[in-house]
Symmetry: none
Subunit: 199 residues, 4 copies
């Protein structure tokens, strides 16, 4: 007996609820600190159901980290390395990134856990690393373009990109300001320095 359309949607919703609850709790309490029971409760789902949707806890963790990553892909795609006004494009990018990193507190906590724990979650780490690499590539291209256009000082573009993405993560880690705080916006020009804009 095939499942009805409604049933399928129901199941997809359940799956999503579990993922969201898992991400939240894993971010706050860590992998070992989060019992499956609590995830089920937070998702409003029976305990057993968690295991109908995910093989085991580890799989659930992996999905909770990597699936939201897809939404961030646009962060990469929205960067236009061929923009005319490189400085403006950079500033837009930095501002957007800072805003998003500020608001993604919870998710980035999760990411941090994987980074500091990468031997325990090698597959998950790999996916994060690949995303990071894509982001870095784009930034690099934009930097190269800026240097060619003479609006940025000459520096190793790879290093610039590395320092930039590091800074994003570091800020998220060091600052406990709320995402709404004006603090974040004020940091934009400081971050811009990284790229070596000619004054």
């Amino acid at each position: 007996m095939p499942l009805s359309e409604e049933q399928i949607q129901n199941m997809q919703r359940k799956r999503r609820q579990i993922l969201i609850a898992a991400a939240t709790l894993f971010a706050e309490y860590g992998y070992e600190g989060t019992p499956v029971k609590k995830i089920a409760e937070a998702a409003g789902v029976s305990f057993g159901s968690v295991f109908t949707y995910f093989d085991n806890k580890e799989t659930l963790f992996h999905s909770a980290v990597t699936e939201p990553l897809k939404e961030f892909e646009k962060l990469v795609e929205e960067i236009d390395p061929e923009a005319e006004d490189v400085l403006a494009e950079l500033e837009t990018m930095v501002s957007k990134h800072i805003r998003i990193y500020a608001s993604m507190n919870e998710f980035l906590n999760l990411v941090t856990r994987v980074l500091t724990h990468y031997r325990k979650f090698p597959d998950t780490f790999k996916e994060l690393d690949e995303f990071h690499e894509r982001l870095r590539e784009r930034v690099m291209e934009l930097v190269v373009s800026g240097q060619n256009k003479g609006v940025l000082y000459e520096q190793d573009p790879g290093n610039v990109a590395t320092v930039y993405t590091s800074l994003l993560m570091g800020m998220r880690l060091s600052l406990i300001d709320e995402p709404e705080s004006s603090m974040w916006e004020r940091l934009v020009p400081h971050v811009m320095q990284i790229f070596g804009p000619k004054h």
Copy 2:
């Protein structure tokens, strides 16, 4: 009957071994992911002995994080805000910090865990935060001095310091290069940009 000198030294060595083993394992596997049993084994000490030296696992974690912190105090003290040549002083500082952060992989992993878990370890977090604040203060003073001397562009010194310390943490988190890698040294000039040196 007081303990002999030798016994006391023996105990201190044991305590240190436990702390080192704990720091290593906590850094690698996290707090919940590290059984006390393993710490004891790694330290070459019986299970029960861990509890002779530390009241419980939480206390051990706290000590493993905060006691090494004392050694880093010199990182703060070595910064001379009244240096004549501010740019040289900054460059020395950045170079030293990067080198130390690179070599402190394990310890900074531990620090990161506290930062992402600060609700679980409030006391430990507080001590880290206070250290961070002392470091930030010193950096700020040096930046102010540089701006007054006209060798740095005018920027909010607090923000500069914030961005700088964030960057240090972020680099440690993002880069998995070995401490010996020349990569770290090459990043120094990039980091210097943060301070807005006049070319």
Copy 3:
């Protein structure tokens, strides 16, 4: 999906088995002297199951003591303070009580443990005390009635009731005779003396 009728009954049986095993072992070896593991074994249940039915060992102890208490409520209710022949009623009561106290060896051992340990089990103690108070009240009423009817010597009825219930506990504690022993029955007239029957 609700549990089937059979499952529910199964669970109730399991719960009862655990309670019985717990009562037996707690009575024999005391609270600290009884590992949960042994209770599980005695109940023919897995170790983990004990915690499916009871939050923790303390709760299990509380239940093991107070739940059987309900069955004893009839000891109180069966006393008729308005009986015509007070002496006969008293004798019936004493005989019944002695028989029951003799047969409840194990349970009363448990009770004794709570009484001697009442600071450790305040809630459990309270329930026992309330039961005891109800019993005392009834006995008192009957004594008052007997004195009014002139078949008992005048004595403070409260004290009489106190001495009576104390004696019941004391006998249980001092005598190790089997419940079947005729010893118990032979003590009835001696206990009757407490009430001051006129000869």
Copy 4:
């Protein structure tokens, strides 16, 4: 090198302190509920010293229960089965016993623990039982004398003695009144009923 007189006295004092502390704590928290460490602390003695004076915890428990028993021997000896005025002798005895049982709260708690736990402490139980038997014998003799003199109703003297000692234990167990309470004294005439005094 023989021990000096002072040293010997010192050791005896230490031993006594340990015994007192042990009795107090065992009475309050039970055997398993009392760590040796706490006994040492309460006795103002080093942890290791407890084991210099007592082979192990069980031995210490045994001594803590049986050694004070010697002081109670006078309770038995002071009963004069050949007293002229048996009723007066009985009343004196009851009054004294009640007073002592009231004040021995702690020690009798300990006794109760042995009685309810007699399979665990067979040797200790045996000594208590022998003491109890000696007391019972004396009471019996006095009862026989009273019956012969015609001042007590005829009843089985053994049973009377049994009921009497049971009552003493039962009262101690049921009543939580302070030893100073006048309650205890008021119960004397009620207890006297047990012996069947002719009015």
